[in-house]
Subunit: 197 residues, 2 copies
Amino acid sequence: MPAERTNTRDIARAAVRAELGRVAFRLFLRNGFENVTIDDLAAAAGVSRSTFLRYFGTKEDAVLGGFEAKGERVAEALRARPADEDDWTALRHALDLAIPAYHEDPAAMLSMVRLIGSTPALAARQLEKQRAWRPAMVHALAERAGSPEHPAVAHWVRVSAALDCLTVAVDHWSDSDGRLDLVALLDEAFAAFPGSR
Amino acid sequence: MPAERTNTRDIARAAVRAELGRVAFRLFLRNGFENVTIDDLAAAAGVSRSTFLRYFGTKEDAVLGGFEAKGERVAEALRARPADEDDWTALRHALDLAIPAYHEDPAAMLSMVRLIGSTPALAARQLEKQRAWRPAMVHALAERAGSPEHPAVAHWVRVSAALDCLTVAVDHWSDSDGRLDLVALLDEAFAAFPGSR
DNA sequence: TCGAAGTGTGAAACTCAGTGTCAAGTTAGC
DNA sequence: GCTAACTTGACACTGAGTTTCACACTTCGA
């Protein structure tokens, strides 16, 4: 069983995947997600339809490529928080992981958030992927509470609400054309609960 | 321009729609959502594929038929709450509207929740529909706050979190095979925030 | 009573996403 | 160099959803 070491092939695959993603994103921005077929994407990238679908199982994934991966990293950050910190504070800090991407290339992220927001299929798929973060995050909270096997209703609610805060903050950031400060928006979102006022 | 009065025709349409929905639901339960084609549904209901698709734009809608309608009623309930009540309490009471359906026919609702939960396409579509409740609910909160035009981040967060509470409560109710009390679960969910402990 | 307009249904053709299979070609490792 | 593993492209296929057209049937005014 060959271990999961990163060899030349994997690097090439990742590079191709990234390039296909870029080509697709450009095309989607220009013509709109639903007006671009997989054949168009393949042609624009110079590969066959088969190959394109091998890199991205669906059209949506060409945009939402690495989105699910971030979930595991957020859960990890959650586990790394001090054990005596309350859930809400821990969640707020764990979500700092999501911020840098928006600071590195705000223009690109704005385009992406707008594209996703204006395309029902993309919005639904992104939501689904973000919800897939939850089990690992809930498990992290349950571990902190000392009962990793049976997470409570409260853990699910807090994790879900924290992810909503991120979504709402990003949406408002996008509505402000990136002018508002994303960290401030996220803090404002987290402060919207009864005990936080 | 004929007003939107409910005439004989509309009643007949609604009855056919309900019957088609019942047939589809039975078939989905028996064979699994993705193993049933629209042709199967049409054949089982004794209509053509065209007709079936005219009643339900998509296969998912045959299950999630009246789901979006409830959103407007929840928003209405929200507007009807006393003006001096805090958002969180108002939301909790507005969501009481969602409960009776589960009490009236628990077995059917259990089947439905399980079917949706175990079918990614259905889960995604339901989530999308529930999210469509939000604008009206947020607007209701903004009205209460005296600024109906510019809802705040806090309003979006509270509405989203409240809907998460409902979802989490229903999911746990389903996991308990309907043995746990849904109202108690919903209260527990709403109590999961910092200030509520 | 006739006919015109509106409405519900079915048939068929079409586009496109996604799956599966197979026969090349290419690369890595020995 | 040779072989085994992997990558690619071509092709056929299923099924969702859209559109168009023709054929009923009902309604309503002349």
